[in-house]
């Protein structure tokens, strides 16, 4: 609520802009990649783990925006990678190249990048932000739990292994099944995202003493996305709640009260 609760940065860095869609791909049906044109004022702030709030055209329903992680950036553009889940993403999936979207951002706190190698563990579309993380940090291994997740998330050469519940892409099982041989100590940082139940299971596998290395990319139903509506609460270990949109979406695992957290 006071200035110190929000990500550091210059006033005015969060802007609401109309942005051109310069490319649209749907390699896997129902999973859409949109490239949006952006200038340095946006891209310089688009650090790994931060997100944008996209207005769903033509309006006014759905009423509130939809949050999406900045999936990767280019010299004059960035990408969103999303799954069609409901009417908002459905409408967004119909966006055509050349049209414009209203985008607010970059928003939130991203990953704390203080050197060292990263282990990425993600379920579902949570991994949409990993490509951006690998652009900025040394990513050693990705363990993903989604059909064709490795192909989709395009981690530029980072070793990637994935599993799906129904075996539709290689092995059948849960992400946790892939964690047995993971050399946890080799990684200075662990990025974790996905459904809350899956993240809880992963947290139980993290060797004692290493959970301090885990940074969680959280999801919550958002109203504003910029810290005022108190809609996006994530239970805090210290009691009360964190705001996913400004205390997160990337939150050190130790700050979360995993017991109380039920997810979106």
């Amino acid at each position: 609520m006071t200035g110190s609760d929000r990500p550091a940065g210059v006033p005015g860095m969060i802007r609401d802009r109309m942005m051109s869609v310069t490319r649209r791909r749907e390699d896997v049906p129902g999973i859409v990649r949109l490239e949006l044109q952006a200038g340095p004022d946006f891209l310089d702030e688009a650090s790994p783990g931060r997100f944008v709030q996209v207005e769903i055209p033509p309006g006014p329903f759905p009423l509130v925006r939809r949050p999406f992680t900045i999936s990767r950036i280019g010299p004059s553009s960035f990408e969103l990678l999303f799954e069609v889940r409901g009417r908002g993403t459905e409408a967004l999936a119909a966006t055509e190249t050349g049209s414009s979207l209203r985008v607010l951002g970059p928003l939130g706190r991203g990953y704390a990048l203080d050197g060292g190698r990263w282990l990425l563990i993600g379920g579902g579309m949570g991994a949409a932000g990993f490509p951006r993380l690998c652009q900025a940090a040394d990513c050693g291994l990705a363990v993903l739990g989604a059909s064709s997740a490795c192909r989709l998330t395009d981690l530029s050469g980072v070793p990637c292994t994935s599993i799906t519940e129904d075996g539709s892409s290689g092995r059948a099982g849960l992400v946790t099944d892939l964690l047995d041989g993971v050399p946890w100590e080799h990684f200075a940082n662990i990025a974790l995202c996905g459904p809350v139940a899956m993240m809880k299971a992963v947290m139980e596998r993290v060797p004692p003493g290493l959970s301090g290395r885990v940074q969680v990319s959280a999801e919550a139903r958002m109203g504003c996305g910029w810290g005022v509506c108190e809609g996006c609460s994530v239970p805090a270990a210290a009691g009360g709640y964190l705001k996913c949109c400004t205390d997160g979406p990337v939150i050190p695992a130790g700050r979360i009260d995993w017991e109380r957290w039920e997810g979106v």
Partner: protein
Amino acid sequence: METGPWTLWGREYDSPLMLASGTAGFGLELMEMGMLAGVAAVVSKATTLLPRDGNVPPRIVETRYGLLNSVGLANPGVEEVLASVLPAASRLPVPLIVNVAGDTVEDYASVVERLDSSPVPVGYEINVSCPNVSAGGAAFGASPSTVEEVSRLVAAATRRPFSVKLTPNEGSMVESAAAAEEGGASAVTVCNTFLGMTVDWRTGEAPLKRGVGGYSSPALLPLTVARVHLTRRAVGIPVLASGGVGSPEDVLELLAAGATMVQVGTWLMRRPGAALELLEGVRELLDGLRGFPDGTGT
């Protein structure tokens, strides 16, 4: 209908737009985003005597044509607001009105008394209409005699002006408005979210833990227009409209119905820069009018 400048509590504003409680924090985030242009005044999120964590999430659920919220007056409590929020808010380029909620009738006056020790608030909004808490909230607003009592206690606790934010969900809003005036209120806010709910028919469960929440939507504008109109005829104090604004036409309609100022809330979730967009739209529409009548509704 005033076509500007708009006057409230002795101050002139070149915009009729206030930011509604709970949808703009204390205005600091929008200030940093450079989006306070077009704003006459910010109404803060609710402040209570003691800190409140708020309701168990999820707190926001969208329905096909609107938004349900169940925030539950999450706030750090009046002492923390005094210690760290209001000093920061002294940098706001626009006046701040602090929204106050309570569990008992006395709470409101206590919070206001404490807040009076800060030079920052220009006035208060007394929230007797929150649909998202069991004690207090709408229960107070439903009874004109309680509204009058709260108003009297607050009037005795401060010399600053205050508006009483009424509930559309129970009791008679018009009688409560008259009671607020009688009790010494300097305005009434008409109104708050409507009691609403959604149920997942597949599971029989309500996504909001408390079941019901506060519903807001641009589709509710006609409900606010009616209540502003009826309240306007019942009281002499200013009526601050709150509910359903999503376009410049909506702002003008509420003014035409008798509102002194117009609050925008949920629409800020869609458009954080709404105030300036709406104000520019309002100016354009007014410019297009020749011989604008001075009606206040029928």
